[in-house]
Amino acid sequence: MDTIEIFIRKLEAEIEELPSGTLQPETNYRQLPEWSSMHALILIALAETEYDVTLTGEDLRASTTVQAIYSLIASRAN
């Protein structure tokens, strides 16, 4: 499993709308003005293709910060 820094770098690479450095472990990403439902799908796709981890809509609703979503993915990754 990647470190949280690498995870953030990969997520920012997928979401061009977010200026580099926007995402920090404590960031409540769903409150960002740029965040949309499309970004939720991009995050789910990243978890599937990079870590072979399935995230549901419920998982996203329950994980408000970048750290929380990273920890969830890490706990499910092989």
Binding site: E17, M38, L41, I44, E48, T49, T54, G57
Partner: protein, 351 residues
Amino acid sequence: MAQFSVSGSRLCGVAAAVPAAKQHNADYDHISEQERSLLIKTTGIATRHIAPAGMATSDLCLHAAEKLIAALNWNKDEIDLLIFVSQSQDYFLPATSVVLQARLGLPKTTAAFDISLGCSGYVYGLSTLTSMMATGGFRKALLLAGDISSAGITPKDKSTWPLFGDAGTASAFCYDANAKTHINLQSDGKGFEAIIIPDGGLRNPVNEHTFIEEETDKGIVRHRRNLWLNGLDVFNFSIREAPPSINTCLNQAGISSDEIDFFIFHQANKLILETIRKKLKLPPEKVPYSLADYGNTSSASIPLTMATLGDAAVGNKRWVLAGFGVGLSWGTALIETQDLLCLPILEIESP
């Protein structure tokens, strides 16, 4: 387990017809410029062809079938089977396939019936057709698959309007005792509300509330005769179920993904397709897309994408065809073709 292998039919040609009129997502002003560019980038859909009022799915399938029959130099009296796959049929009844049998000038000895499925419909139609042809009782068969999805969507709903395009297709199958087809079919009706037009059938007949528009989310205004799409559920379903369905079909056939020339996925949207492709570790050149120019064309998307390949289909080719979506319903077919005829996409001005 709905997994089986049958011999007896070979796909020998595909043709597709779309309405000439186009909608460009770059012009979709129901959403902000920022949202629009994110939508086009993520879905991969730039343009869709939209039917004018009065055009029915059968009109598009008819044009495609006539062109294909002529190109193959088929004698119409030898066409023993016509299957029409759609969820936008011409009439509540009778079945559109039977109407098409007459419009195409096919003999009364032709068996004709409809299959009501969308995204998975081509694979289900192909499996039904190949199973019937395996009996040896059919010489030539047509699988006509298409949808005018635009009839159920509104520009006020950003979750559906920029995604769907209209198309009708024709696929021609010849009897060939040596041609083997491998099939894997699945369904999960617990997800029936993930993609649904709620009113208009017998469960919820059209009533005084049917056409009342409601804003269910920002940018999503719809009534109960419109197509409702739960994007997150469909996304999760597609990336969860399509890859194992494809792997199961390959294992069943004893063929590795390296031995497949083309993987044709139902054209849902680019993010879904790329996630499936990456999970299966497939190179992009083996997974062609048609969605940039045509969008999600429902039951037409697999044969339409095949038709866009043109001369690339010449020679002996192995194909994996995977459909997944409304139902929820999904399936994979593995077929082999020899010099498959792929006609250029037809653009139709009026019915």
